[in-house]
């Protein structure tokens, strides 16, 4: 019996093998979305918990990695929905990445604030497409939506950000 067939049949050893084989990729993908390593670890475990619970619905002829990415994306999206009102972008973002010093601190704060207030599904695609520069096709596969919808959400996210920044008094074109 193949590994995926054994997993779908509920074999714990097959699940462990798949877990060990895919945990790094799932963790890295979720990390790009939530931008916090500790949260990404927790959500990776939650992702595989959902995978284990749904094993009977998995088609052994299918692609386990793509399935895991999709479930991981949903778990991360749930997290963004829950945390939207509670948090700004995580603090360790500044440690993980260095913003351009040419952009004024006030401008950066406004952008962080506006970005963190985007609805979760827009924040998800905006993070992956505009910041992480992931291909639209990959985002669409992971989110389980058509590429055209990814493009629409990116477009709308940019429009929402622009409106928000304008309401904060940040004029694009006369910035920095």
């Amino acid at each position: 019996m193949e590994l995926l067939e054994r997993f779908a049949a509920g074999d714990p050893e097959a699940f462990e093998t798949l877990f060990r084989g895919h945990q790094k990729q799932v963790y890295a993908w979720i990390g790009r979305i939530v931008r916090d390593s500790g949260i990404a670890e927790d959500l990776t475990v939650e992702t595989f918990w959902r995978i284990y619970r749904s094993r009977a619905r998995f088609d052994p002829a299918g692609n386990f990695g793509a399935w895991a990415y999709r479930i991981g994306t949903n778990v991360a999206l749930d997290h963004l929905r829950r945390s939207r009102r509670e948090t700004e972008l995580p603090e360790n973002l500044a440690a993980d990445s260095k913003p351009d010093p040419a952009v004024r601190r006030e401008t950066r704060e406004h952008i962080h604030q506006a970005f963190s207030q985007l609805p979760a599904r827009y924040r998800l695609v905006a993070t992956l497409a505009l910041i992480e520069e992931e291909p639209y096709e990959k985002i669409a596969d992971a989110a389980g939506i058509p590429v055209s919808l990814v493009k629409i959400r990116v477009f709308r996210a940019v429009r929402m950000l622009r409106k928000k920044l304008t309401s904060m008094g940040l004029e694009l074109g006369a910035r920095r």
Partner: protein, 74 residues
């Protein structure tokens, strides 16, 4: 003009929130997974059930006369 602003905003966003540096998973998460598998699943009540319960409570508060009839049918 809007398109130009859109491009500028994308550029500004990229300068402000730079991509995550690829981080390696620092530890094996399998022990955490085993703990999660051992934990009993919490029972989640769907929102519809909560709404139904609230509706019933409200009905009983507004029309207490139906309580004996309800008890009779139970």
């Amino acid at each position: 003009m809007n398109q130009q602003n859109g491009m500028e905003l994308r550029k500004l966003l990229k300068q402000t929130i730079t991509p995550m540096t690829p981080t390696e998973l620092q530890r094996d998460l399998w022990p955490e997974m085993l703990k999660r598998l051992d934990r009993p699943e919490s029972v989640r009540v769907p929102w519809f059930d909560w709404a139904l319960a609230a509706l019933l409570s409200a009905a009983l508060l507004l029309f207490p006369g139906v309580i004996p009839a309800l008890l009779y049918h139970l």
